[in-house]
Symmetry: C2
Subunit: 292 residues, 2 copies
């Protein structure tokens, strides 16, 4: 089966490597808006060949996987709608779903029935195709958000490709997906970016950062993420994110007045509940080899 990979970063490169390793793709053509990325993917053997445009990449493809930042996907969908072979199954790895599906519906025409919206809950500390791994998805969730028009055979094929890579599938509505990941992914990224930028802008910011320890290191690891990618995500999921952000600001208001008034009971109640929940939490599907 031939895979056209549109977007040759960490996640796209890992998808290509994983689908190839599990026998779900045997020929991969890569395209990227930045030609040096698809060429690096080719040099690393992650893709067999770098294509110079979408039309060239998707020719004869059985699968077309969109793995760019979500903000670039709308225009990619237009080109995919124009050039995709008639039987090709289209999928994506985007972190937001409602707006993306809306754009895909407008752009893909009849091919929308062969589009399977998907979101693998995986990532790595370091970006770029050079850190791609065929095992990235082992023990991870892949969320699919099929629509009324989504063809059952296309959905099953994409889901089966992912389970072959060691992932577990959960189907849900695009709305629920966006609510969940606004809470557990988009908001935390925004909070981490907000803290690092705030400290860096303080007059004594660099001295403060100089003495930061392991707690700060872990808390802010996601603040090293790609700014463009997360700008796109924040805007694509703005409604759900704004709701969470609003609730979080109220939570901080409560904590600030507890700190200022010396209200030990409120602090202890919130900290104790958080600590209990976090200690009991497990991550991923439990089948993985990730240090979750």
């Amino acid at each position: 089966m031939k895979l056209a990979l549109l977007g040759c970063g960490l996640l796209g490169g890992s998808l290509a490597a994983a689908w190839r390793k599990s026998g779900r793709a045997d020929h991969v053509v890569g395209y990227d808006l930045a030609a040096d990325r698809s060429q690096r993917a080719a040099a690393l053997g992650i893709v067999d060949r770098a294509a110079s445009c979408v039309a060239e990449a998707v020719a004869d493809a059985d699968y077309i996987a969109l793995a760019t930042p979500v903000g670039s996907m709308a225009s990619l969908f237009l080109e995919v709608g124009r050039h995709a072979p008639e039987a090709a199954i289209i999928t994506d790895v985007g972190s937001t779903k409602v707006e993306l599906i809306h754009r895909a519906r407008e752009a893909l025409g009849e091919a929308f029935a062969r589009f399977v919206p998907a979101h693998p809950i995986a990532g790595g500390a370091l970006p770029g195709v050079e850190h791609a791994s065929a095992d990235l998805f082992r023990g991870c969730w892949v969320i699919t958000t099929p629509q009324a028009q989504t063809r059952a055979d296309a959905l099953e094929r994409i889901e089966s490709n992912w389970t072959a890579c060691g992932a577990s599938i959960e189907r849900m509505s695009a709305q629920e997906h966006d609510r969940i990941f606004a809470s557990v992914s988009h908001l935390p990224h925004l909070l981490a970016f907000a803290l690092v930028q705030m400290l860096a802008a303080q007059p004594d910011g660099s001295r403060k950062l100089h003495f930061a320890g392991a707690g700060f290191r872990d808390f802010t690891r996601i603040a090293a993420s790609d700014a463009t990618m997360w700008r796109d995500i924040a805007l694509a999921n703005r409604a759900a994110l704004a709701l969470e952000l609003d609730q979080y600001r109220h939570q901080l208001e409560t904590l600030q007045s507890a700190v200022e008034s010396g209200d030990a009971a409120t602090l202890e109640r919130i900290f104790t509940e958080a600590s209990r929940v976090r200690r009991e939490q497990s991550f991923g599907t439990g089948d993985g080899n990730h240090e979750f």
Copy 2:
């Protein structure tokens, strides 16, 4: 040299193990408000003997190290002031300094000149003396905040004990210490507790947490910390923490209006600056064996 360890948790246990390994203490007596903790420390060989009261622990001690949550230290200082041998050097590992030093000054009387306030920037994923390690401080900073009355020989001895364990020393004022750690430690802990408790209290909270990935895992790791310890820290450093919290809430207000109005430029500016700073940041002193 005999060390009296008051507080037998992860940090205290690691201090005892590290000072012993580097030849700075050859006999350790442990005391804890919870007797089972000092007995576990004795069973593990971290302390040679569990004492049943402060007076018994500090008898004949050369060093007295306070390693309880900061909220318990005030009453410990009173007992130490009453029972410490005349030449004993007193130190602590507390995460806040201004209020703690104020309490020590009131409680210790003439022994205050032999009190060296210190804060090793180290910790572990798991609490308790069973996770104590003699190598915990390798490559870490230890901040000392000596006062005008602090005897130079006491200060040098404590600092030299820490460098013998692989740590690097930085002297600063207690005020600067508290400002720095309000920013890079106390605020992040409060933010992580706030997020986990908020999500857990939502109607669909447990379903949301079920799909959380590696980003959330790292961001909230510090929310598993001990609630009592962090309640004490938040209150002991309330002035500096409230200032940071206030500024952070303004930062979130800016981000929320950018998200709601679709202001891509503001989001990109803040995210890009954060990402650049975080990627360039190094942790610890660079000499350590920690994965910082």
